[in-house]
């Protein structure tokens, strides 16, 4: 039985989701403020009310547009709808996750967060890939697998929704850090220490916010980071490299060619963690680097001089 799938946002990921769903024989409506060319039989709409009849909705907009998109969806969705977002990011100093935003702005309760090493091109082309869906609703997992899955896509499930969202948001930051480190020429072993300890650090912050450590060590965290370091060409890599070449943050962001929230998220997370008495050496150091307060040598030295503890 085919589903009616709604996709909010016609960026790379939105289009890929629409293509994968259509390939699996489902009716697909994509909503976007701007007209985009989409292959048949995908329907393109500028009217959010066209999403009303879709039982499964994917919110595929950048985190900074999530609030306004959720507000618009709030006018058309109700308890019948199931919704999944794929945004990487946290909102404001309160560090609201996107599912929290959707819960605040809409009455949709059957929510999930899709994350992990999944990239838009692989999804659109049906190449082998994997992802993780954080949701408390097993029926949502079933429906997402039905919509997107197939021989080429393995969608794992976890109940740790906040863990998936925090891991996904913090991997963005760690990707910038690692790209910067590569650019300034650190050894592979230093890079490995930075990646591993960085993941431990963000996982510690995540746990303070209610996430599970295992989620950070799974597809949403480590899995996603491996895909980034392997070079899946995400903008965070370009931002890190530009900073490594000595560019100021504003021009580095311009060079990245897309809006990158990683550093902003890291700053808010760091402030929150410090209020809770948690140590955040890598985040603190890199926020200082990105603000131009210290250079690469001082950064490495500051991290290396720290007391070594147990793993």
């Amino acid at each position: 039985m085919s589903l009616r799938v709604g996709v909010v946002g016609a960026g790379g990921f939105g289009r890929a989701i629409a293509q994968a769903s259509a390939r699996n024989g489902h009716e697909v409506v994509v909503w976007s403020r701007r007209d985009r060319e989409l292959p048949d039989p995908i329907l393109m709409s500028n009217d959010i009310s066209d999403i009303r009849d879709c039982e499964l909705i994917f919110l595929a907009v950048p985190a900074r547009h999530a609030v306004s998109a959720a507000e618009q969806l709030g006018e058309v969705v109700d308890g019948r709808h199931l919704m999944v977002h794929i945004s990487r990011g946290l909102i404001g100093t309160e560090l609201k996750t996107i599912t929290q935003v959707i819960r605040d702005k809409t009455v949709c309760r059957r929510l999930g967060a899709l994350a992990g090493p999944l990239v838009a091109d692989a999804l659109a082309d049906g190449r082998p890939s994997g992802a993780i869906l954080g949701t408390g609703f097993p029926e949502l997992t079933e429906m997402v697998r039905e919509a997107l899955g197939g021989a080429g896509l393995r969608i794992y499930e976890t109940r740790d929704v906040i863990g998936v969202e925090l891991a996904s948001a913090t991997v963005g930051f760690l990707t910038v850090v690692l790209a910067y480190a590569q650019e300034v020429g650190v050894d592979p072993s230093t890079l490995a220490v930075l990646a591993t300890r960085g993941m431990v650090e963000v996982s510690r912050m995540g746990q303070a916010l209610g996430a599970k450590e295992s989620t950070f060590m799974g597809l949403a965290g480590l899995g996603d980071l491996i895909a980034a370091v392997a070079g899946d060409q995400r903008p965070e890599l370009r931002l890190g490299r530009a900073l490594g070449k000595g560019a100021k943050l504003t021009s580095a962001v311009g060079e990245a060619g897309a809006y990158v929230e990683g550093i902003e998220v890291a700053r808010h997370l760091m402030e929150h963690a410090q209020r809770l008495g948690l140590e955040t050496p890598i985040s603190s150091t890199f926020v200082a680097v990105s603000e131009g307060r210290i250079g690469p040598d001082d950064a490495i030295q500051a991290l290396m001089e720290r007391r070594v503890g147990k793993e």
Binding site: E75, T106, V107, F137
Partner: protein, 568 residues
């Protein structure tokens, strides 16, 4: 022996002429005529879920026998002597039983459990209780007013101490349209009594609720509890079938339109903090009542009423905070030797309360549907922008209503989150809590680097200039009022209206003369902290707001206080 007899066979009045409920009577008046049907419905549904799979059935019987043997071996009382033999013999035979014998044993066990849980409702006892209980407590509060309290037209002492807030007209309308589920915060064993009284004076219906079986050992309380519809919960029983019975009993009652009450915190807040982590079992029973009805196409709405019970003075404060500090909260789940069981403490408590304005506030929050949405005047679910929606949509899959236990568990978790947030927004901060917070913050600030337990040993060692304290109190109160304007919390009228000096004096008066040791005293121009543990208990109500009501130089201390509440 008598205790056991009363807890197993509570007294009932003889029925000379059966009472025929009138249409205007609350739903609970129909309970006795439906009781047997409710019991058999619960038994049938539990047996059906276990009977289809032999492995599951055998597991359920083994689990029951294992946990009951373990409990009874520890108890070593009359019940153990009577029942241990049965369970020991059964556990030896389970593997050898054929299917039909296993089913028969399951049916017997579940029937016995359900009958033990199910309550009774006697309209005569209800009418007597609604007149007598407030006057009895009023007599304890003010013996000189006994004669006035006996005159029905005069408000009783209890009514004068108790203030009820909330949109009562809305709730009074909804009580006739579906099932109301009151879900209050839990600070004291007095909560059930106070809440029953609040419902009574607000014209709201009597409710069904689960009461610990330990309360049934007192013959008078047992008589009232049993005959007012309370169902018995024996927290010592760990059997999973028993938990299923409790949950399904509550669910069936709500499905049938009985208004209910349960404390989602599970037990009294030991720390004094506003509950955040809620026990979802009974909450889930109410969610499933709605979804089960909808899946059967029965349109009987269920609304949750987040309720906060706010005391300026808590009867069992000393025992509760001690218990929290000893980290024995779980081991001593049922405290039987606290102030609630000491009648002299009841006298002292009520007498102290009656002299103080705004001593207890019950706030009935805005009702919500089982999915955390606000509802309109007629109970229809609303979106955040006020658009009407059909709550039945939450039960649908591909356009059809379906029963799905895993989905309902997830809905219940979401509802728990909403309730936790609503408790914060609807908590009414009382004078003692605000004063305790400012004093405790001063204690933390003047002892940098010291751990909590070292601070709690500083009895009589920390003093604060009264004028300085009053200034800090005024600032904290102003910031709380700002938060109140944003809908984040509420404060009592006295907190809003008193001068800081009056507020301080009021809190000191509450503490002095009731608790064994007072929290703080005025000595010359200084306020001296006498019992930091008591201060901690009262100030814990404010942990979530500590940073927001602190001035920049108090931020470090406020941050330490806020961290106390991180793992609530």
């Amino acid at each position: 022996m008598l205790k056991r007899f009363l807890s197993e066979r509570p007294l009932r009045l003889p029925h000379i002429k059966p009472y025929v409920p009138r249409p205007s009577d609350p739903s609970i008046f129909w309970f006795n005529s439906e009781r047997d049907d409710i019991v058999s419905d619960v038994v049938r549904r539990i047996c059906e879920t276990h009977e289809s799979d032999r492995a599951q059935l055998e597991m359920a019987l083994n689990d029951a026998a294992f946990h009951e043997i373990r409990r009874l071996e520890k108890q070593r009382d009359d019940e153990a002597r009577d029942r241990l033999g049965y369970w020991r013999s059964m556990i030896r035979r389970i593997g050898k039983m054929d299917d039909s014998e296993q089913r028969r044993v399951l049916h017997t066990i579940v029937t016995n459990m359900t009958r033990d849980v199910a309550g009774n409702f006697d309209p005569r006892v209800y009418r007597f209780a609604r007149r007598a209980v407030p006057r009895l407590i009023g007599g304890v509060m003010e013996p000189r007013r006994v004669t006035k309290d006996l005159m029905a037209s005069e408000p009783t002492s209890l009514e004068r101490v108790l203030k009820v807030q909330g949109d009562l007209d809305h709730l009074r309308y909804l009580q006739n349209e579906g099932s109301l589920v009151f879900v209050p915060t839990h600070s004291s064993n007095l909560d059930s009594i106070v809440l029953s009284q609040a419902l009574e004076i607000s014209g709201l219906p009597p409710v069904v609720y689960g009461a610990g079986k330990n309360l049934f050992t007192n013959p008078i309380i047992s008589f009232f509890m049993h005959n007012l519809g309370a169902y018995r919960v024996d927290r010592r029983i760990r059997v999973s079938l028993y938990k299923d019975v409790l949950k399904l009993y509550s669910q069936v009652m709500i499905e049938r339109g009985y208004h209910s009450l349960f404390f989602p915190g599970g037990t009294r807040s030991r720390s004094g903090m506003i509950e955040r982590r809620l026990k979802l079992g009974l909450l889930g029973s109410a969610v499933e009542a709605f979804t089960t009805n909808r899946a059967r196409r029965v349109d009987r709405p269920v609304w949750f009423v987040p309720t906060t019970i706010n005391y300026a003075l808590v009867l069992e404060a000393e025992t509760l905070i001690k218990d929290w500090l000893m980290e024995e909260g779980q081991a001593r789940y049922i405290i039987e030797d606290d102030e609630f069981s000491q009648i002299d403490r009841w006298f002292a408590f009520f007498r102290k309360m009656v002299g103080m304005r705004g001593a207890c506030i019950i706030r009935f929050g805005e009702p919500i549907d089982p999915f955390g949405n606000r509802v309109d005047g007629r109970g229809g679910s609303l979106t955040p922008t006020g658009r009407a929606i059909d709550a039945g949509g939450y039960v649908e899959r591909r356009g059809k209503p379906v029963a799905d236990a895993e989905r309902d568990t997830a809905y219940t978790r979401e509802l728990g989150e909403v309730l936790g947030q609503r408790y914060e927004e609807d908590t009414v901060l009382m004078s003692t809590q605000v004063v305790a917070h400012v004093l405790f913050r001063e204690l933390v600030q003047s002892t940098p680097g010291m751990d909590l337990f070292a601070r709690l040993r500083l009895r009589g060692e920390i003093g604060i200039d009264r004028e300085v304290l009053c200034q800090q109190l005024g600032e904290a109160r102003d910031r709380l009022c700002d938060l109140e304007a944003k809908g984040r919390v509420r404060t009592s009228d006295v907190v809003k209206e008193d001068t800081p000096g009056e507020l301080l004096e009021r809190a000191l008066n509450f503490w002095n003369g009731y608790h064994d040791s007072t929290a703080a005293t005025l000595e010359g121009d200084r306020i001296v902290i006498r019992d930091p543990s008591l201060l901690l208990y009262y100030q814990n109500r404010l942990v979530s707001f500590a940073e927001e009501i602190a001035s920049p130089d108090q931020l470090q201390a406020a941050c330490e206080i806020e961290n106390l509440g991180v793992h609530r």
